[in-house]
Structure formats: C-alpha cells, structure tokens
C-alpha cells in the first residue's frame, strides 16, 4: 500500500514537472502584447460572415480592400501604433487620418515586434 503511495507521489511529481516545462516554453503567440493580439483579432474578423466582401465589393475588379472593411482594421491599428509611444497628435499628423496609411504603419510595427519576440526567444535558449 505504502509502495503505491510512493509511486503515485512520484508519478505526480513527474507529471507536474512535465507540465511546468511546457508552460516555461515561450512562443511568439504567448509573448504578443495585448495590442498585437487585438490587431490579430481585427484581421481575423474580416472572415466573419457580416464582414466578408459583399456582391458589390466583389464586382469592383480590384484587389484593394474596400473602405468598409478597412474601417474594421483601423481601431486596432491605431491602438498598436499608440502602444509604441507615438502620440495621437503625431499619428494624425503623419497619416492625415488615411486608413491605408494607418493600417500599413501598424502592419510594419507588428512585423517588427514579432521579429523582436522571435529574437528574444532564440537568445533565451
């Protein structure tokens, strides 16, 4: 009986140590900032049924995202830009409120931040 207890205790130890090991592994996914996560969510939301391209948008014969769908990306883009220390006034001055410019700027920041995270993970190992 005692032997069983000892065994169970060992098994528990091994199990917890294994699960701790898992949680200690950092991935780009777990190290994203909340602003990066929201930026992800905004892009993903373009696939929601109500956000898919309408018949009219499909007929436009251009691959440029429609203004209606660009607008869905702007709040998260702004949030991501402001999280780097850029002020609201600078954002307005640099982009003039142009949706495309705001989204492209945020995309560049997102890529840069992902690279930094990847580098940090590598240097941790």
């Amino acid at each position: 009986m005692r032997k069983h207890f000892v065994l169970a205790a060992f098994a528990l130890l091994i199990l917890t140590s294994c699960s701790n090991e898992g949680s200690a592994v950092n991935t780009v996914e777990t190290m994203k900032t909340p602003q990066m996560e929201n930026f992800d969510k905004a892009f993903k939301s373009l696939g929601d049924p109500q956000n898919r391209p309408t018949e009219e948008e499909r007929k436009r014969n251009t691959s440029e995202l429609s203004d209606r769908r660009k607008a869905l990306l702007v709040p998260a883009s702004k949030e991501l830009i402001l999280s780097t220390g850029v002020t609201e006034a600078e954002l307005t001055r640099k982009t003039g409120g142009d949706m495309s410019q705001i989204i492209i700027w945020a995309t560049q920041i997102y890529m840069q931040k992902s690279d930094e995270i990847r580098k940090n993970i590598k240097s941790d190992k």
Binding site: D40, F43, K44, L46, G47, R52, P53, R58, N61, T62, S63, E64, L65, K70, D98, S100, Q101, I103, I104, T107, Q108, Y110, M111, S114
Partner: protein, 167 residues
Amino acid sequence: MKKFLTIIGLAFISSAYAQGGSLVINNYTSYDFHTWVTAANLTTPGCYFYVALNDPELVISGGNSVSYNSYNIPGTTWKVSTSPTNATPRPGNHPSLTLGGVISNNTKWVMSQFQFYQTGTPLSSGAVGDTAYTCNPVPNIFNTPQAVVEWFTITSGTTTSTYIQIY
C-alpha cells in the same frame, strides 16, 4: 555589360514603382497552407517580368501567420525573369531580391498558388491573386472544401501591403 545597363535602365524607369511592401499570410484554419507565390512588374508589357518562388514552397501551418518584407526568405530559390527569353534561378538573399534590391523594388506580389495539407496528406488546391494581374488571371477569393482563401491589398501612395487570409 548589357545586363548591367538593362538593370540600371529598369531602376530608372520605374523608381516610383516600389515593392516596399510586405506580404502577410494569416492561416486561421487547422490545415497546413502550402504556397508558391509570384510577383511581377505590372507596368512592363509582355508578361515576362516576374519573380516566382521555385523551391521550397512556403508552409504556414494551421493557426499560424507569417510576414515577409522581400524575397529574402531563408532557404528559398526564385525563378527570376527580366527578359522574354530567359529566367534564371536566384537565391532569396541575392542582392537584387533583398529589401531595397532592384528586382524587389520593381515588382509587386501578384499571385499565390496553394494546396492544403492535413498531417502530410494533400487536399484541395487553388490560386488567388491580384485581379489587376492579367498575365495569369486568378480570382481574389477562392473557395475550397477546407477554407476560403482571400487575397487583398492595402495601398497608400507607392507602398502596398499584400495579405493572404485563410478563413
């Protein structure tokens, strides 16, 4: 020498035509997305000015995203064609293909040929791309039994960001 002059010429002709844009691929499905991407210069008539991924294909596993700033993707080889008569393979880190390189600056992403995989088993395939690319016309939305693949751009001035989304 002639080649050099051609390159210089190209650089001048279309200095306003900058790739300067990124390619982002977001795979929201659980399937692996394998793709061969192509870029081209849309202002040169004749359809011969293009850069196509030769080997290996890009693999974006289920639930993952990738983004690239140029053709300089580690380990890739590209088929580069700047004349009607020849296409030469070049590694992605060739100076002309890296960010700011002459080919990179004069081409933009136009097409993704793709195939879905699940644990190594090939599933449906298709292609999406920029509808402005008339040399090899493909739709900008493609439905497969696995997922919808959408291609779109966001453009501001001479900068274009290209996105492939897999829902």
